[in-house]
Amino acid sequence: MAIEQSIPAPRSRWVSLKGAGRPRFIILLCIAWLLLVLAVAIGADYLAPFAYTEQSLLNRLKPPAFMGGNPKYLLGTDGLGRDVLSRLIYATRMSVLIAIVGSMIGATVGTLLGFLAAHFRGLVEDIVMVFVDFQASMPFFIIALAVLAFFGNNFELFLVVVGLYGWEVYARLTRSLVLQANGQGYAFAIRTLGVHPIRIYARHILPNILSVLIVQVTLNFPELILVETSLSFLGLGIQPPQTSLGLMLGEGRNYLATAWWTGIPAGIVIFLTTLSISLVGDWLRDRLDPTLKVTEA
């Protein structure tokens, strides 16, 4: 690899400039899109022209304004005469909310278990790792469906189930990182000073492994959105009258032939959002963890 890198400088500089310049614009676009989505989620109450449940049965399935529809309904109306744009805004809020809260649940649970495994070793570690292996080998989607089937669906349960997505990756990652850190000089030095283990983990080791965990969050986040929207799309997640991007697309499926605009915008928002997070995540990974770059090339 060293030989490859000693290729004449001008050419490699040109290549690297091209490589650095091109994606950066896309990354900016992605960040802009994500900020927009976040702003819409936060300001839904102010941005939505109508309440998302407001029906107008005289204005059912009206086409979007750009297709010759009433300019009052920018993206048209759905089968119950509800404004698609308003619903899209509230659906975005719901999906973003679940993804953010869910990410925190999974990351917290997983990281905590990882710390416990690495601290106690022995039996605790074995038990945690058995569950990690189990979760890793069972498709999460099936487990989630089974839990929703057995317990029935309600919002809190759904949030927790979706949130647990990916906990095993955090647990495994944290465990190995903490084990590594424990063996390093700084952890040993603090320990000999008699600092309490919790303080060592929270103040010294956690900040050191945080960047890797953040990268994992960016990898996990788009998948979490897909889990939530898939379940809602199947009618097994968020229940009406609440709405999420997946549910909206699922409802719009029934009007594909006559009124595609009731569902497709939700699909586009999901796609652009997961795409943006993936691209920004990749970029973030390169910035936060330069060691990964070498192994990837």
């Binding site: 690899m1 490859e4 290549v15 058995v130 569950f131 292996d133 189990f134 080998s137 069972m138 498709p139 989607f141 099936i142 487990i143 469906l145 089974a146 839990v147 929703l148 089937a149 057995f150 317990f151 029935g152 788009p222 897909l226 929207t229 898939s230 799309f233 199947l234 009618g235 097994l236 997946g246 697309l249 699922g250 499926r253 594909l256 032939a257 595609w260 569902g263 497709i264 699909g267 999901i270 796609f271 997961t274 795409l275 993936s278 691209l279 990837e296 090339a297």
Partner: protein, 312 residues
């Protein structure tokens, strides 16, 4: 010796996963409510309720119930479907061929597109072919499978009217769901194939092969691909194990009469015996495919076996 230890370790791990899956179903089933009250109407006389409890073994202690549950699961006795009063296992197994047909067709498309794209991208690294391949990979990774499915229906069934959008009656019905499934997974496979190929192409033996004067096709076919295959086999194997799980959404959108569609219906109707049968079936396929992948892996690259059996 090493090999036996490796196989036994993997086998033990697989059995443990299965046991956990059965336990998971048992615990969730017991925690989520009294099965008898779910099966009988509210005004059933207490005597009949008690009789049902005895006949289902619910009067026994929990550990005893647990052992009996595992015992009957081992015998394929997983209860009767609430919906049509037939053994849940029979009901589910009837759907297996359709899911396998869809899953394997999609898998074949994934393999062909994924491998070709990945290999082409690695060989033409940095060119527009590589960029296009990676864009495709990111597309497949970010695109929700249900959205792609809907777009496919919108284009091929509604706008151009060339392919049927729902059901599983003819071979024509297979095309849209299989292609959707194939494209979604191909992105990940392409990415793995590319990075695995790139790693191999840098190896000294590739330079040696070139120095020997071997042709490009020969170098790629018999030197690069076999060595690059190892991580790709794992990814593909895991995809194969996840066929049933992966088909849930696609089957539902295209109304393909397989296990995935059945699971979604069973969940919304709370047909618990069917749900638990499918969960256990999925667990079994995952464990078996993981085991086979591990064996293939060890066979493809003996170094892994040695390392793993030393570690644990």
């Amino acid at each position: 010796m090493m090999r036996l230890q490796f196989i036994l370790g993997k086998l033990l791990r697989g059995l443990l996963t299965l046991l956990l899956a059965v336990t998971f179903v048992f615990v969730v089933l017991r925690v989520s409510g009294d099965p008898v009250s779910m099966m009988l109407p509210d005004d059933t006389p207490p005597a009949i309720v008690a009789e049902y409890r005895v006949s289902l073994g619910l009067d026994k202690s929990l550990p005893e119930q647990y052992v009996r549950f595992i015992w009957s699961a081992l015998h394929g006795d997983l209860g009767y479907s609430f919906r049509n009063d037939r053994p849940a296992l029979t009901v589910v197994l009837e759907r297996v061929p359709m899911t396998l047909l869809l899953g394997l067709s999609g898998f074949a498309i994934t393999v062909v597109i994924g491998l070709l794209t990945g290999i082409a991208a690695a060989l033409k690294r940095g060119t527009s072919i590589d960029h296009a391949a990676m864009a495709f990979s990111i597309f497949g990774h970010s695109m929700p499978n249900f959205f792609l499915a809907i777009l496919m229906i919108l284009l091929f069934s509604m706008t151009w009217r060339v392919l049927p959008s729902s059901g599983g009656a003819t071979w024509w019905h297979l095309i849209l769901p299989a292609v959707t499934l194939g494209i979604i997974n191909a992105g990940t496979v392409a990415r793995f194939t590319r990075s695995s190929m790139l790693e191999v192409l840098h190896q000294p033996y590739m330079r040696t092969a070139r120095a020997k004067g071997l042709r490009l096709t020969r170098r790629v076919m018999s030197h690069a691909i076999p060595n690059a295959a190892i991580p790709v086999v794992t990814v593909l194997g895991l995809r194969l194990g996840g066929l049933i799980a992966g088909a849930v959404v696609i089957e539902t959108v295209f109304a393909w009469p397989g296990i995935g569609l059945m699971l979604v219906n069973a969940v919304s109707q709370r047909d618990l015996p069917v749900v638990q049968t499918i969960v256990l079936l999925v667990a079994l396929t995952m464990v078996v495919t993981n085991f086979v992948v591990d064996l293939t892996y060890g066979w493809l690259d003996p170094r892994i076996e040695n390392r793993q059996s030393k570690e644990g």
